[in-house]
């Protein structure tokens, strides 16, 4: 198939960027979207032009490196699919495909399509963990976790940290990422002791970098793991609850 790739080119963080159009001839429908970029880059380099910078690694939809805004959608038109798992056969109806980097204050552009998503790490550092220093753990089966609870935690934990939720959100909010990480830990019995301090620190860190949630639901639609906005409700609820909790009494509630 033939198509035009309209790609955002930007030499560096502060450089002025613009779209370039690259005609691609005779590409196979079996190609993945990133392989299309591999081919483009080979062509560019052979012509003596600098290749397009873009993040990628596993190409299996699990590492969360790949990140492209494809025709106005984070990770492109296929639901529940990261850019690296998108294949051209799903895009045969298009003549021109427009690709730009994810845009958010918390995701400064590094070059072309590559952005810096360290802000997501900052949110985890702020409280996205269970304090369990190595060696102190008791036997794994002493902690019972109902299957449904464990499954729900896993639904949240499936987040790959790609940042599509931020990219897709009309407000540039990081709520779905934060909620997924938060809910994963706070749905499990192991996560209870730190639950209410965790929610406050994660939310406050999130708000340094990202916008606020107005419940559009674009995040859920863009998420390659289809993580539910229900987790956002959970985060919001616990944040409010946390205001009224006296941590000194947490030992009493069981």
């Amino acid at each position: 198939m033939d198509l035009n790739l309209k790609v955002w080119r930007q030499a560096g963080p502060d450089a002025v960027g613009r779209f370039e159009i690259y005609p691609m001839h005779d590409v196979s429908e079996d190609m993945s979207f990133l392989e299309l970029f591999d081919v483009l880059n080979e062509q560019l380099e052979t012509r003596g032009e600098e290749p397009v910078a873009f993040d990628h690694d596993c190409r299996e939809g699990i590492c969360g490196s790949c990140a492209m805004m494809i025709d106005g959608r984070a990770h492109g038109p296929e639901r529940g699919t990261a850019t690296c798992q998108l294949h051209l056969r799903k895009l045969t109806d298009r003549e021109t495909i427009t690709v730009e980097p994810w845009r958010a204050a918390g995701f400064p552009i590094i070059k072309d399509l590559a952005v810096d998503r360290s802000a997501l790490d900052r949110i985890v550092e702020a409280g996205g963990y269970i304090t369990a220093p190595t060696g102190a753990a008791r036997d794994a089966n002493e902690i019972l976790v109902a299957k449904q609870a464990s499954d729900a935690a896993m639904d949240a934990a499936a987040c790959i940290g790609c940042g599509a939720c931020v990219a897709a959100c009309p407000n540039g909010a990081g709520q779905l990422f934060t909620a997924a990480k938060y809910s994963h830990l706070s749905l499990l019995p192991q996560g209870q002791p730190e639950r209410f301090t965790r929610v406050v620190s994660m939310v406050e860190e999130m708000e340094r970098w990202f916008g606020s949630c107005t419940n559009h639901g674009e995040c859920e639609a863009a998420c390659p793991k289809e993580i539910s906005v229900n987790f956002i409700a959970m985060l919001n609820r616990d944040y409010v609850k946390a205001q009224f909790k006296n941590p000194a009494l947490s030992g009493q509630r069981h």
Binding site: K6, W8, P13, G17, F19, M69, D71, G72, R73, P77, T98, E100, R103, A104, A105, G106, P108, I110, D116, S118, A119, P170, N171, G172, A173, V203, E204, E207, R208, W209, F210, G211, S212, C213, T214, N215, H216, G217, E218, E220, A221, A222, V229, N230, I232, A233, M234, L235, N236, R237, D238, Y239, V240, Q243
Partner: protein, 249 residues
């Protein structure tokens, strides 16, 4: 060497939201976007209640002047004899003013925060999947409601924009106002905006309050649609039937 920390901005003035949090618990809660959204939801809920009750009361217009005027008078005497006349009414008014105030201030501050969160917009057209017209126009429908509210007060509470206004004659005032075609259209449009606002707001509020249980979640959407539809039909029926002459003096 320039580290990644240099590349990502860390300075407080550049951050999207608050970085230094106040210690006073109320101010700290208010400093957070999640906190503000909670305030919006609670105030929105209060406003929803008001809108509904307000509508139900006003629908007495179809029962005739006596009923409507009686109802209006009842509002003023609510709480008597335990409390002096209009105390309860003023209490409700103050509550409403506070709800509107908090709702609007929070909306304004969150909107600013959201603009800061994406200083450079997407350069190609977005293709929205889940966000709908209602969710994306909240701030505009909100502003329309606020402006309309001022007009509505001037029209039917203070009478400044209503030449035939006679304090206490609620029924006549309403009919006189709605009989003017432009005013009727204005009421209809404003209530369409209100319904759109409610369509998203009365779903969104569940999320903001964290009222979430997968078993009941589907009902949230029905609730929102029904609520918006009821308000739209009820509120629009009044100016519509008056301006078309079905209901009148």
């Amino acid at each position: 060497m320039k580290t990644l920390q240099d590349l990502t901005k860390t300075s407080d003035d550049e951050a999207v939201g608050s970085t230094r949090r106040p210690t006073n618990p109320i101010r700290r809660f208010w400093s957070s976007a999640v906190g503000k959204k909670w305030v919006m939801a609670v105030s929105g809920l209060a406003l929803l209640g008001f809108v509904l009750v307000h509508m139900v009361g006003n629908l007495k217009i179809f029962l005739g002047a006596v009923h409507l005027d009686e109802y209006a008078e009842w509002l003023h005497t609510l709480g008597e004899p335990a409390l002096p006349r209009t105390v309860v009414l003023w209490g409700m008014r103050l509550g409403l003013i506070a709800a509107f105030g908090l709702h609007i201030v929070a909306a304004a501050q969150l909107t600013r925060m959201n603009h800061k969160a994406r200083p450079v917009r997407y350069q190609s057209r977005r293709d929205y999947v889940a966000a709908n017209f209602a969710s994306r126009t909240m701030r505009w429908t909100g502003v329309i409601i606020a402006l309309f509210l001022l007009f509505h007060l001037a029209d039917l509470s203070w009478g400044t924009t209503n030449p035939d206004f006679v304090r206490g004659n609620t029924y006549d005032n309403v009919i006189a106002s709605f009989e003017r075609v432009p005013v009727a259209i204005l009421y209809i449009l404003a209530n369409i905006a209100l319904a759109i606002h409610i369509f998203h707001g009365s779903w969104s509020m569940f999320q903001s309050l964290g009222w979430n249980n997968p078993r009941w979640n589907p009902i949230r959407r029905y609730f929102a649609v029904t609520f918006a539809a009821v308000i739209a039909v009820g509120n629009i029926s009044m100016p519509l039937l008056v301006v078309t002459g079905v209901v009148g003096k």
